[in-house]
């Protein structure tokens, strides 16, 4: 059961790029994706900056090969999962049992919103095709069918840590010899339900978000999808190219403090990070870069920061929140950030934390304000923290 799990493919689409190469280019040249809302019809388009994928539903349907009437969540998932699957270049190997584990917080609700407008006036109204893929599981099925994957299909939904848990579950399916290969990650599209939901919580910054800044005002939402292809050492030996890195450790813990806020001392994030380090057999000083959850809300950054201070003490690694580029992509965020963590190892690069002017005074560390390169990024820790106290950390290691 202690089979190592390797990353052999990756795919991402976000507000900063429609594929991994574009995302990497934006991350390295400071190309930020947060702007006025252009594609989602909402009253908040001028007021709440968000990081939309810079493509209309029609454009996405052309690229994904899905019908334009399908949920945007499915199209984003399709594009990133296909990229990851092609990148792995693995399907020519006969007899592999392949799984698809996808995560989403809101599934096809972007279409349900349209349905509900008509339905609420008359329950006989509303196009059924707009509500048939409401549940996140249906979105996963659409993409699995198009990828031609059917051995194990699964959908995870644990709020903002969803796709970290999808990656963990996918890795465990490999370790338990249930599948040989798994495409794992998550997807979410910007929609009115979520945008208004976060707005009622008064956690959206009306300016550009400033994660881990003393004067941070909240988060900006984003959208996108990110997937890894994971497999075992046995399958890696059959591949033409070397794996990008290993998923060397992971851990999920619950903060059990409040439904929507994390404890000020960061108990949950602390246990997720220390559990993931222990699983990887690493010490805090072995970590070279932390891809922070770093949403930019008062609560998240205090809680996550407190946990980092406790765990790393004087051995602070470099760290940054790439949500300052992509916004908070919710159920997709850990998938996208798993791709970014892999890129950090592959290219020996630590991304910057944009717009950080005054680091939080509560802590004796500060995220990176400029991009840096180091050939030896060996271990990267990626954090995700969601509603319901759901905290997950992943560790990626150079092989």
């Amino acid at each position: 059961m202690n089979t190592a799990v390797f990353v052999v493919g990756m795919g991402a689409i976000s507000g900063i790029g429609n594929n991994v190469a574009e995302c990497l280019a934006a991350l390295t040249n400071g190309g930020m994706g947060i702007d006025k809302i252009k594609h989602l019809p909402t009253n908040h388009s001028e007021l709440l900056p968000s990081a939309e994928v810079k493509l209309s539903n029609y454009d996405l349907s052309v690229i994904s090969g899905l019908s334009p009437s399908i949920s945007r969540t499915a199209m984003l998932s399709m594009i990133a999962a296909q990229e990851a699957w092609d990148d792995a270049d693995i399907k020519h190997i006969p007899g592999l049992r392949t799984g698809f584990v996808s995560a989403s917080t809101a599934g096809g609700i972007d279409k349900t919103e349209n349905f509900a407008v008509d339905f609420l006036t008359d329950t006989r109204k509303g196009k059924l095709r707009d509500v048939i893929n409401h549940d996140s599981g249906s979105i996963t099925n659409i993409v699995a069918d198009k990828l031609g994957i059917k051995h194990h299909i699964s959908t995870v939904s644990t709020a903002c840590s969803s796709s970290a848990n999808a990656i963990i579950y996918g890795a465990r399916l490999i370790k338990h010899n249930i599948v040989d290969v798994v495409v794992a990650g998550g997807t979410d599209s910007l929609n009115r339900f979520t945008l208004n939901g976060f707005n009622t919580l008064m956690v959206l910054d009306e300016q550009l978000c400033k994660p881990f800044d003393e004067n941070r005002k909240g988060l900006n939402l984003g959208e996108g999808a990110g997937y890894l292809v994971l497999t075992s050492a046995r399958v890696v030996s059959l591949l033409k190219k070397a794996p990008y890195c290993a998923l060397s450790g992971y851990f999920n813990a619950n903060d059990a403090y409040h439904q929507t806020s994390t404890s000020p001392n960061g108990d949950g994030p602390y246990r997720a990070m220390s559990g993931a380090l222990a699983a990887a057999g690493l010490q805090p000083e072995d970590i070279d870069y932390i891809n922070l959850h770093g949403t930019g809300t008062q609560n998240n950054d205090i809680s996550e920061g407190a946990a980092i201070e406790r765990l790393f003490q004087s051995h602070y690694p470099k760290m940054s929140s790439t949500k300052s580029f992509t916004g908070h992509t919710l159920g997709a965020s850990a998938g996208i950030e798993a791709v970014f963590s892999t890129l950090a190892i592959q290219h020996g690069v630590v991304f910057s934390n944009l717009r950080l002017q005054k680091p939080m005074t509560a802590f004796s560390f500060a995220p990176e304000t400029v991009l840096s390169r180091s050939p030896d990024i060996r271990n990267v820790l990626s954090n995700s923290i969601g509603f319901g106290g759901n905290c997950s950390s992943l560790v990626f290691s150079k092989v």
């Binding site: 939904s157 919580l201 813990a253 619950n254 059990a256």
Partner: protein, 354 residues
Amino acid sequence: MKAYISSAITISPQKTFKNPLFLDEVEVYTDNRLTCIEPDYSEAIDPRLIRRMSRIIKMSVASALACLKEAAVAIPDAIVTGTAYGCLEDTSVFLSNMIEYSEEPITPTAFVQSTHNTIGAQVALLIKCRQYNNTFVSGGASFENALLDAMMLLAENDNSNVLVGGMDEITDMSHIVLSRMGLYKRKPASNLDLFKTASKGTINGEGAAFFLLANKPSSRDLACVDAVTTFYKPTDITETANYIKTFLTTRAINCSDIDLLITGNNGDTKNDEIYAQIQTSVLADIPSVNYKHLCGEYPTSTAFAVWLGSNIIKNNAIPDALNFKPISKSKINKVLIYNHYQNTYHSLILLSSC
């Protein structure tokens, strides 16, 4: 890897909660919507904490807490839930408010509670369970994935236990929408007659069921979960039959070893044809019962089936509610649950006496 079921609790359209009798009487429904029989929650949940909880959250949290109490476990090592639709009522409430108020500021509680992992999170919060917490929303395989996750956790961690649950609720909106999709019978008769006439459509159901699974036996175990597997969109009946055959042969199980088959027949002609074909081929000559006349059809109904199967094993008796013809075997040792939800997700769950 065996998982010991040390307690099983369900709130369902039958009188199953806090009822020492095992389906001794059947609740009759003449509509195509079966509704859970809910208890008085004031004993089960602190009234100050219950105020934000929608129906599915109350049913689930009450079942989960009762399940832990029954198993004499204060804090489990993990909580895993499966729900296809999640907290639908809260979703509808927030969506309707948002549309009604044209995106003007509205109250956040329904949004917060609509998150799919709310139930697992609420249970964790109530009992201060800081361990692993996961939620699957895999349509008709949501509960099966939760169960598989639990089984993997038990294999990974010595001497541990997992609280695992499956739940879905019917809301007025979902019932209308799913009815418009043609899922339910136009002219429903009594749920007791669900399998008597061949017609299109089934009856809508709901429920919440929780189990405390452990990797070590205890004196209170009802049964064991030996295995769970799912398969997805088989191209034809041969692929389905082959999958089931492989499931049995890799575990060295003959049909004659299985004392009872619980099938997911739901009264819809097209849906039930698959079971008929399987029961005349790969699962031939196994005594079988149906369960969806008791709980209705919904994506996580297999959680009810596991509750049913484990109680059948524990009591070594099949309640009359299942219309079962008596069999010669004196001991029910192995029960196989075979279900498919709209021929998309199929699942096999094997239970045995401990």
